[in-house]
């Protein structure tokens, strides 16, 4: 029997008992729906996390660390911008322009972290690797606050991150002044600052902000990464405000209270905090990560290997994406297991449906055998019928989950309101590019593949039974 005839006849057989077929498809649909909605949500979250992590990344960048377990940094994720609380014994603020760095005594790095510290000789070693276009220390600074010139507006917490201009230029900006971006005193802020100050982002471009840091004597590395406000009640510690000009805002992200500045500005502030001159700071640089920019995409792997060979831990752009992918794929798979259970139940339904069909069609199977059908053909007809149930259940499940996913995306972005009355706020209104449910071709293929395979496996036993029917017995069946 020709394959197209097998498919056609088995498809036609689905319509003999329409209600039973519909119920079987619905049971398969529930499993497919659960699996596909979980996968699409996992995929949506994965894409969102990748967009967050890669906000400043370039495919040519490699992050380099010492081979050391860092644990995790203490950024607040998704918490929005927080207000700065004045220390009880606030001091007069010494306002000086950026270039007026001061120096004083140094203090040491915490001992437990000393194994993770990268120094100038590491930077030099990495810079000399073939095809490395640029390599710079990654610098985090945790000032007390950031404020506008306008005293009416709140002082807000901020974490500063020194980024080379090549990387900053490729960021996902919501608004930007590209000319301003290259200036040493340029700062790019998280989207939430404009909102917290209650001003339009466009209006804030070019405006001066003041960032206060305290001279704690700690190095500019991890010691300064503690959240702003840590020095509430500075006592007799010297403090200083550094002026910056807003060059842009990055799209709303989970890293909600970040300010991105030039590495040079980071050095100045770092030197002030450490109580050193910039030269002293640069000479005795201690950081935890070096950002490497490779001259071209083709050389990224070679540079990555060379860095690892030199005894460092490195992470390329693709590797970071890959790691996020693995984590979220695992989460999706774990969530999808609920759907798998539903599908297992549905597969029993398919087996039952087909066994009933065999009972009803026993005589017909006898006739088919009498007119020349082989066991293989009879088995194939029932297996194909099972496959159709799987394909249809999977397709309907995908369609329903896609529609529900779209609906949920829409609700989360736009909310529900009747006239001026808001019934439900659009919780993702600030993340226009983030959809909670995102379908792709892999999900469609996977879900259809799983539903069809499960259905075929469920249909194997009924198909085997049908194929083994004795034609004489079958022809006598009432």
């Amino acid at each position: 029997m020709r394959v197209d005839d097998v498919l056609k006849v088995s498809f036609g057989n689905l319509f003999r008992q329409k209600a039973r077929t519909a119920l079987t498809i619905v049971s398969m649909m529930i499993g497919a729906f659960l699996i596909s909605i979980m996968l699409s949500v996992g995929n949506g979250l994965k894409q969102f996390m990748i967009s967050q992590v890669t906000m400043f990344a370039d495919t040519r960048t490699i992050g380099v660390q010492k081979q050391f377990d860092f644990g995790s940094f203490g950024f607040s994720l998704g918490g929005g911008v927080e207000k700065y609380t004045e220390p009880s014994d606030a001091l007069e603020v010494d306002v000086r322009p950026l270039d007026e760095g001061t120096s004083s005594d140094t203090s040491g790095m915490p001992d437990y972290l000393s194994g993770a510290v990268l120094r100038n000789n590491d930077l030099e070693k990495i810079s000399k690797i073939n095809h490395v276009a640029d390599a710079a220390f990654e610098k985090y600074i945790s000032p007390d606050y950031i404020r506008l010139d306008d005293a009416e507006r709140d002082k807000l917490l901020v974490t500063l991150y020194g980024l080379p201009v090549e990387i900053r230029e490729n960021a996902s900006f919501s608004v930007v002044d590209k000319n301003e971006l290259r200036n040493k005193d340029a700062v790019v802020l998280s989207d939430g600052y404009a909102e917290s100050w209650g001003l339009d982002r466009e209006l804030l471009l070019g405006k001066t902000v003041w960032i206060q840091v305290a001279q704690t004597g700690e190095p500019s590395g991890l010691g300064s990464v503690q959240q702003g406000g840590m020095s509430a009640g500075h006592g007799d510690v010297e403090i200083k405000e550094f002026p910056f000009k807003i060059a842009g805002f990055v799209e709303k992200s989970l890293l909600s209270q970040m300010g991105y500045i030039t590495p040079e500005a980071a050095d100045e502030i770092g030197a002030y905090i450490a109580g050193k001159s910039i030269e002293e700071l640069i000479t005795d640089e201690k950081e935890f990560e070096i950002i490497v920019i490779v001259d071209s995409d083709e050389n990224v792997d070679a540079v990555d290997r060379a860095i690892e060979k030199a005894g460092y831990q490195s992470m390329t752009y693709d590797e970071s994406i890959g790691q996020i992918g693995v984590v979220f794929d695992f989460i999706s798979a774990a969530l999808s297991s609920f759907g798998a259970i539903a599908m297992l139940v549905a597969s029993i339904g398919i087996a039952n449906t087909l066994l009933m069909a065999i009972y009803e069609r026993t005589r017909e199977i006898g006739v088919m055998k009498a007119v020349g059908a082989t066991r293989t053909v009879i088995g194939a007809l029932f297996t194909a019928e099972a496959a159709w149930l799987g394909i249809l259940g999977g397709s309907v499940g995908l369609l329903v989950s896609w529609l529900i996913g779209r609906f949920v995306n829409w609700i989360l972005h736009d909310g529900i309101s009747i006239g001026s009355l808001t019934i439900l706020k659009g919780v993702l209104a600030d993340y226009p590019t983030f959809d909670i449910s995102v379908f792709n071709i892999q999900i469609i293929i996977l879900v259809l593949g799983v539903t069809t395979s499960v259905a075929v496996v469920a249909g194997l036993y009924p198909a085997w039974r049908a194929s083994r029917l004795d034609p004489i017995v079958a022809l006598r069946h009432d």
Binding site: V367, V371, G372, T374, R375, T376, L475
Partner: protein, 227 residues
């Protein structure tokens, strides 16, 4: 053409051994029209099924055109049924949801014949049984006699050498039964098909060239019509 040698079919029913065929030997020539007469349980249907390769022998052999079909595997048996024999049943065994043409196409479906050719062959077979005006009708829209004619068209659509009919008039009124027997006789003569008909009806047995009376799995009497 058909040689049955020392055929025995034994099965057990409720612990009792039943001999449906008991060391039966028989030769049927090409183009013969043979009627098998006998009471219920005499073994006539078993003999028909063995020739049609629907049933297997406990011992002995069935040779059709020099080939021992009793030793064939499922695939070869199916091929034999598909190409060499055609079955006609008492209850017609048509598929209710299919039209007359689609029912007749069924054996061709299993023979890898493309749809268009299948349809042409089915229509031709239906015209041979004078049902050209009922090709699109479903069994429920046809009389018993017409349904049996559709079944005959299905049995002969792949031009088999042997036509096997198991009480083809058993579910029909006398007039329709007569017509069906005439039709089968006609096919036997025109198409030179070897025909074996199982019947209870002595009158219908008269359409055959040869009448075999079966009892307890043995041939009781073998009578040939004088030419």
């Amino acid at each position: 053409m058909i040689t049955i040698q020392k055929a025995s079919k034994v099965y057990s029913l409720g612990g009792e051994e039943i001999r449906a065929l008991d060391n039966l030997s028989l030769k049927i020539d090409k183009g013969d029209f043979v009627a098998l007469l006998g009471s219920s349980g005499s073994g006539k249907s078993t003999l028909l099924n063995v020739v049609g390769s629907l049933d297997t022998l406990t011992s002995g052999r069935v040779v059709v055109e020099g080939v021992d079909i009793s030793k064939k595997k499922d695939k070869e048996q199916a091929r034999y049924r598909r190409t060499r024999v055609g079955f006609i049943f008492q209850t017609f065994n048509l598929q209710r949801r299919l039209t007359a043409t689609e029912n007749v196409e069924l054996p061709l479906l299993f023979d890898n014949i493309p749809a268009q050719k299948r349809k042409a062959m089915a229509l031709e077979a239906l015209s041979k049984v004078n049902l050209s005006d009922r090709v699109g009708h479903r069994p429920s829209e046809l009389s018993g006699g017409q349904q049996q004619r559709v079944a005959i068209a299905r049995a002969m659509v792949n031009n088999p050498k042997v036509l096997l009919a198991d009480e083809p008039t058993g579910n029909l009124d006398s007039k329709s039964g007569e017509n069906i027997m005439k039709l089968i006789r006609n096919l036997n003569k025109k198409e030179n098909m070897t025909v074996i008909v199982v019947t209870h009806n002595e009158e219908h047995a008269l359409y055959a060239d040869r009448v075999l009376r079966i009892r307890d799995g043995k041939i009781l009497r073998d009578s040939k019509k004088k030419q």
